[in-house]
């Protein structure tokens, strides 16, 4: 792979390009495409019936219904449009961790490049937002051929650093993304979760569809170390001396609780949550997710994140309420 295409891996692209990504919420676009648009028009996809009113085009009158019911109904079809997707990539210092072939950031960047490539190939507009404590880069969604190159360049020139503040970043994004679209947040979510949930709620309130890709290293979940370890905080100066075997299970339980809580939150709010391990085969993981997404297309989602965080915006310090269990639409890459 050339230097320019460090995050564009052919095996990943080959596996996901044919699958495509279909928006499950209505999105606003300018051209006809794969995705449902709020503007009904000529289309093969049936949308609804409505009472005939004077002035309606008689071509759209459903004569079969008139024959059965003796009433006049106009048949409406959904108009397909292109998708405006934004990849939101966490470039904080915590993403530098990785003892295997790739760091979490490498894995996340590859994921972003792959998704951008797939979306542009299917004619959708893709943007990229890179953040740590604040938004570092923002490439507005575009479906042009040069957009992919811009995104890859941005990914390659980004070095993970500083602490994470995803809450304020999502708040800023909500201000800057006026049109509804798809937001794919790629992060380890090792941040203030209350602020993160608030940010999600605000974005949901604006009508965005959200997918959360949570990228974690398997070490961070399993704490596999057999030696005494001096842990140094990647986003601070704190150091901890510990013998991991003495509390490994407790740690694994704590991490399981953390991931489970995020999953339950997202599930309740109709947000796809995809847990990815940095040593997972990304092509398989994305393929699995996209297949799954196609299967469950059309299943309605429930609440909004804002209903769980106590309001549509702000309130970052509020306590996180518990989330009731619900039928899963979550995806785990290795499930």
């Amino acid at each position: 792979m050339s230097e320019q295409n460090a995050y564009l891996r052919p095996d990943v692209l080959a596996r996901i390009t044919k699958l495509g990504l279909r928006a499950q919420r209505v999105v606003e676009g300018t051209i006809s495409g794969l995705h449902k648009s709020p503007m009904h028009g000529l289309s093969v996809e049936f949308a609804d019936y409505r009472q005939y009113t004077a002035g309606d085009d008689l071509k759209r009158l459903d004569w079969r219904v008139y024959a059965r019911t003796n009433r006049h109904f106009i048949k409406e079809f959904e108009e397909e449009t292109n998708l405006r997707a934004t990849l939101v990539l966490d470039a904080s210092a915590s993403m530098k961790y990785g003892r295997g072939a790739m760091t979490k950031f490498d894995y996340a960047a590859t994921l972003c490049a792959s998704m951008a490539h797939m979306l542009i190939k299917q004619g959708d507009a893709v943007g990229l937002a890179v953040f740590d404590q604040q938004q570092r880069e923002l490439l507005r969604p575009s479906g042009t051929g040069s957009q992919l190159a811009k995104i890859v360049h941005t990914l390659e020139t980004t070095q993970p650093d500083r602490e994470t503040d995803v809450g304020s970043v999502l708040k800023e994004l909500a201000h800057r993304l006026n049109r509804r679209g798809l937001l794919m947040i790629v992060s380890d979510l090792l941040c203030d979760l209350d602020l993160f949930y608030h940010g999600l709620g605000r974005l949901q309130h604006q009508g965005h569809e959200i997918i959360v890709f949570q990228v974690l290293d398997r070490d961070e979940i399993e704490l596999p170390f057999q030696d005494t370890v001096l842990f140094k905080d990647l986003e601070g100066d704190e150091q901890l001396f510990a013998e991991p075997w003495a509390f490994r299970k407790a740690y694994q339980e704590a991490m399981g609780e953390f991931i489970g809580e995020v999953q339950r939150r997202c599930r309740f709010c109709g947000i796809d949550h995809v847990l990815l391990h940095s040593d997972d085969d990304l092509s398989l993981a994305l393929s699995h997710y996209l297949h799954r997404r196609q299967r469950i297309a059309g299943i309605g989602r429930g609440g909004r994140m804002s209903s769980l965080t106590g309001g549509g915006g702000g309130g970052g310090g509020a306590a996180t309420p518990s989330v009731p269990a619900r039928a899963s639409t979550d995806t785990e890459a290795d499930a």
Partner: protein, 703 residues
């Protein structure tokens, strides 16, 4: 707590090894840059106290294992009381209990006698012993004959009964000898912890610096010593220190003088004291003079015995706090005659012209049964005579030809008296009776000195036969005149077998009478003739006394030693052709006769702890019963009841740390140096190793 191998405690430094390993282990760690610190901290915070406690416990456990291992190897001991007793558990002690049964232990102050208290204290000790310890119990009077040796008292009643039947002896304490006798018991002790308990009255007599040498060896062997004091602080006592036969040879009908010594150990003079003298079965009361405080009073008393043979004499003082030293015994061997043979070298038919006329007269006066035989030198040379008690050679020219016979006689006890004269050739005498392996005469004969000398000076010597003469008639001796004397050169005698009893009052102070001990007999050499040829002494009345006392002093004595101090063995030598049959000894306590040890021609009886008259009986080859009496008297040293200072006693035992316990009539603690607890430590060590193994696994498991 003490340690049998204290130097091993240096190994306690190893206890720091687990700590060092722990610290080194903390220096080896993996550095990891970590993202989910929040959850790591959250987990550690909830587990930190438990983790620290586990680590601390594990470290403590490992350190304790090393400490206990080192301590177990150092073999700690604890006082066997309270927790120490519980810790000591199954450890065992070899206990040696020494009961002082010396004469002073009979002292009775306000309570019971010290010996009775000693027995009580020992019984208390024995009763508290279990069967786990081994016990050796002995008395100071017979340390080689313990009551029990290295036994485990499953049933202590026989020993307690044996203790109750013990009696105080009349022996003296000799602590170095007694304690030295403990070495075999210490060497053969069953258990490594050995403890000596001495039950005594803490009197000073018997303790000396020799104890310190033993104590040093004991300290090296980790032997513990404890002293139980049963004595009283009072020291008042009146003792009969001696009753001796002053008259050298007791003859039938002749008075025998007894010299009696009484010591008053009190602070006041004792008046009107009396003593009871028992001779055979006859008892008389002796009125004693005033007995000054702190002094020894000597009394003489004469008795006359009418029958030949051995007679029993016993003298008793009035009872006091220490009754054991108020009685003394004596056996007197009374002869029916004293045989004297005079060999006359210059006989004469004229009165007082013969060489031995004056001697015959001196030995024949009085009623005393002296049996005097006179022969001329030719007869003596030609015949063999029964050995006399005293043989006198007066101016015998060729005495040297009978040298071997003379030497044999003297060696076997006959007294030999030699007078010079004109017929005596000094050179011939010197060749035959001075030269050779055994010098018979007390000096080398020189030339006759023809110088008149006036006066004889008696030397102040102990046991000199002339002492009485010097006391009775010193002025008469000063008048003795000589015309001629034989010069005798006194040898440089290293063995002090020769002494000059009297000297002539001349400038050279030439010897007048010399004495030499040869074997069991004595030889007296006079330097003037036995007649008045060389001096006028034979016609002086002092001459009679001089030659009689001289004859008595050298006369043959009884072969056997009849008197010993309590504790010393009795010994009797019989002739080689008189093999004794069934020899036994009857003790003063009236017990059944006990067999006597026969060693060749010698009969021995060792157990004389009790004073009194012992009778050794046997049958002669002809079937006749024979008996010999012995008197055994208390050791007078024990009558001095001065107590020993405790610090002095502790100093004697240095470096052994001795505990002194005063017996108050109640229980006596057995706690001495203590018991070993290595067994308990070993058990605890094994338990801790197992606990450490399980705990380390538990701490190190996945959690």
């Amino acid at each position: 707590m003490g340690f049998l191998n204290p130097f091993i405690l240096l190994g306690l430094a190893l206890a720091s090894v687990p700590i060092i390993i722990h610290l080194l282990y903390r220096r080896r760690f993996l550095r990891v840059d970590w993202a989910p610190m929040k959850y790591l901290k959250l987990t550690m915070r909830s587990n930190r106290r438990r983790l620290r406690l586990e680590q601390l416990l594990l470290l403590l456990l490992r350190t304790m294992i090393i400490v206990m291992l080192v301590m177990a190897v150092a073999r700690p001991t604890v006082q066997a009381t309270g927790a120490g007793s519980w810790l000591a558990g199954g450890n065992r002690v070899s206990r040696i209990v020494v009961i002082d049964d010396s004469l002073s232990m009979g002292y009775q102050a306000d309570g019971p006698p010290a010996f009775k208290r000693a027995v009580e204290a020992t019984q208390t000790l024995v009763a508290t012993l279990g069967s786990q310890d081994s016990v050796t119990l002995l008395r100071t009077s017979a340390p080689a004959d313990p009551l029990v040796r290295d036994v485990h008292l499953d049933d202590d009643k026989p020993l307690l009964d044996a203790l109750g039947s013990l009696k105080v002896s009349h022996t003296a304490s000799d602590w170095p000898r007694t304690l030295k006798a403990l070495d075999p018991y210490l060497d053969s002790a069953t258990f490594p912890i050995r403890e000596i308990t001495i039950v005594t009255d803490l009197r000073k007599h018997g303790w000396n610096a020799e104890v310190t040498e033993l104590a040093k060896a004991w300290a090296d062997d980790r032997v513990a010593v404890r002293i139980v004091n049963v004595g009283a602080s009072e020291t008042d006592n009146v003792s009969l220190d001696a009753m001796d036969q002053e008259t050298p040879i007791a003859l039938v009908g002749a008075p025998v003088t007894l010299r009696i010594k009484v010591r008053n150990h009190t602070a006041a003079t004792i008046s009107d004291a009396q003593a009871t003298l028992t001779v055979d079965e006859q008892t008389n009361t002796l009125k004693l003079p005033d007995l000054p405080a702190g002094e020894v009073t000597e009394v003489t008393h004469s008795i006359t015995l009418r029958e030949p043979g051995q007679h029993r004499v016993r003298l008793d003082l009035s009872k006091d706090r220490l009754d054991e030293d108020n009685t003394r015994w004596l056996t007197i061997d009374v002869r029916d005659k004293l045989s004297i043979m005079l060999v006359d070298g210059e006989p004469s038919a004229e009165p007082f012209q013969s060489e031995t006329d004056f001697l015959l007269l001196a030995f024949s006066v009085g009623r005393v049964p002296w049996h005097v035989t006179r022969v001329i030198d030719a007869e003596w040379m030609a015949n063999t005579y029964e050995a006399p008690d005293v043989l006198v050679l007066a101016n015998v020219a060729d005495a040297g030809t009978r040298r071997k016979q003379l030497e044999k006689l003297v060696r076997e006890g006959t007294g030999l008296m030699v007078f010079p004269g004109p017929l005596v050739d000094p050179e011939s005498y010197n060749r035959s009776m001075v030269a050779g392996e055994t010098e018979l005469l007390p000096g080398t004969l020189g030339q006759t000195i023809d110088e008149p000398v006036t006066g004889v000076v008696v030397e102040a010597l102990p046991d000199s036969p002339l002492t009485l003469l010097a006391d009775v008639a010193p002025e008469a001796l000063a008048r003795v005149q000589t015309k001629r004397v034989l010069d005798v050169k006194v040898p440089d005698d290293q063995n002090q077998t020769v002494r000059v009893l009297a000297r002539w009052n001349d400038p050279q102070q030439r010897p007048a009478i010399l004495e030499r001990r040869v074997g069991r007999g004595k030889v007296l050499m006079w330097t003037v003739t036995a007649d008045k040829q060389w001096s006028d002494w034979p016609i002086d009345p002092t001459y009679v006394l001089a030659v009689r006392e001289a004859a008595l002093s050298i006369a043959r004595r009884s072969e056997h030693v009849a008197g010993v101090v309590a504790g010393q063995p009795l010994s009797l030598t019989v002739s080689s052709d008189e093999t004794p049959t069934r020899p036994t000894v009857t003790t003063p306590d009236g017990d059944a006769p006990v067999p006597v040890t026969v060693e060749g021609t010698q009969l021995r009886h060792a157990d004389t702890a009790r004073a009194g008259i012992y009778a050794m009986n046997w049958q002669t080859p002809t079937g006749a019963d024979a008996v010999r009496l012995f008197h055994v008297n208390p050791d007078k040293a024990e009558s001095d009841l001065e107590p020993i200072d405790r610090n002095e006693l502790l100093g004697l035992f240095a470096p052994v740390d001795v505990g002194i316990v005063d017996y108050t009539g109640t229980a006596v603690s057995l706690s001495g140096q203590g018991k070993e607890i290595w067994r308990t430590l070993a058990m605890a060590l094994m338990t801790m190793v197992m606990v450490e193994t399980v705990f380390a696994w538990w701490v190190g498991r996945e959690r």
